[in-house]
Symmetry: C2
Subunit: 163 residues, 2 copies
DNA sequence: CAACACTTGACAGTGTGCTGTCAAAATGAC
DNA sequence: GTCATTTTGACAGCACACTGTCAAGTGTTG
């Protein structure tokens, strides 16, 4: 066929690539929609989506702030701010950490547990309601594809070609 | 069957609901991943993901800031800030609007067009690369499901039951 | 034309996440 | 035990999107 032209090489847009572009746009819309739904759910309980997430990370066992950040791949600083707010609102508390003098353990209070468990209710109602409107097998396929995509993205540190 | 117990009614967690919960978590991860990819792509061009989005909205025809905001369901204020920055960087400009004295028309400059078109290249390379790692039919199914979910979310303004 | 409602840009403030820097505490190597 | 490295919390600053308020401009209606 024709020779390679290394400079003017125009990327040819595959069909799969076009579908993925559409998927990406839906991902953004869904992200917004799910976030909004989370805010609707959390409002009556007096939380925000972010607080819910942080509180949810320490339901099973207390963790230092930096540990929470690591577990959900956020920065210490973001989690710290929210954790302080949660303590201020009485939904969580800091415990002395026998293993580390600075890194106090973070844990929900009774009020915190109660808020989260009532949110779990709302969340199940929500996911049941929405998922009832799609084919379950297709939904499983979707989950499988999304897992593949997450993996592909993680592996795609955009290796600068052949270096 | 058993009578209705309107108060203590515990939501029973359907299987589809559980799958959707997983899908939601992947949605958040993918959102983060795609956003990061966009930032990697835009950095060499001197843009950010948000700037790209705003610039992309006026490729075909100039629009006032409020029109852009409306088209991409953002607030006027967010778009205004970015539009001002883009003008400051010489990537876009304001034109007098014959139809409205205050609402100037926003449009990319030649430099802006060039930046966006080079980004289109990078974006195609990216989507081709990633989409090659999943089954195309499954990807189409995913798109279909996501469209259904977007629709379901939009319709789910959480109508307070029967009011 | 006058009075009204709506749109628009400007300005101020909030929430969420990020990066960067610093010092104290903990850890690991020697 | 000592010293360099890493982890951690605290503090400061930035990007992005939001809400709310105000005045100027536009349009609609009587």
């Amino acid at each position: 066929m024709s020779e390679v032209e290394p400079r003017a090489e125009v990327e040819p847009r595959t069909e799969a690539g076009d579908v993925l572009t559409e998927v990406i746009m839906r991902t953004f819309r869904l992200y917004g929609g799910f976030l909004e739904a989370a805010e609707v759910m959390t409002k009556p309980v007096g939380l925000t989506a972010a607080w819910w997430q942080v509180l949810g990370a320490v339901l099973r066992e207390p963790l230092p702030v930096s540990g929470i950040a690591r577990e959900m791949s956020l920065t210490r600083q973001s989690v710290q701010r929210i954790a302080d707010l949660l303590v201020e609102k009485g939904l969580a508390e800091y415990l002395p950490n026998p293993a580390h003098k600075r890194a106090k353990l973070f844990r929900p209070t009774a009020a915190g547990y109660q808020a989260v468990s009532s949110l779990a209710q709302a969340q199940h109602a929500f996911t049941n309601r929405i998922s009832a409107q799609v084919d379950v097998d297709d939904l499983r396929t979707t989950l499988k594809v999304m897992e593949r995509l997450v993996k592909a993205l993680d592996a795609d540190e955009w290796p600068p070609q052949d270096t």
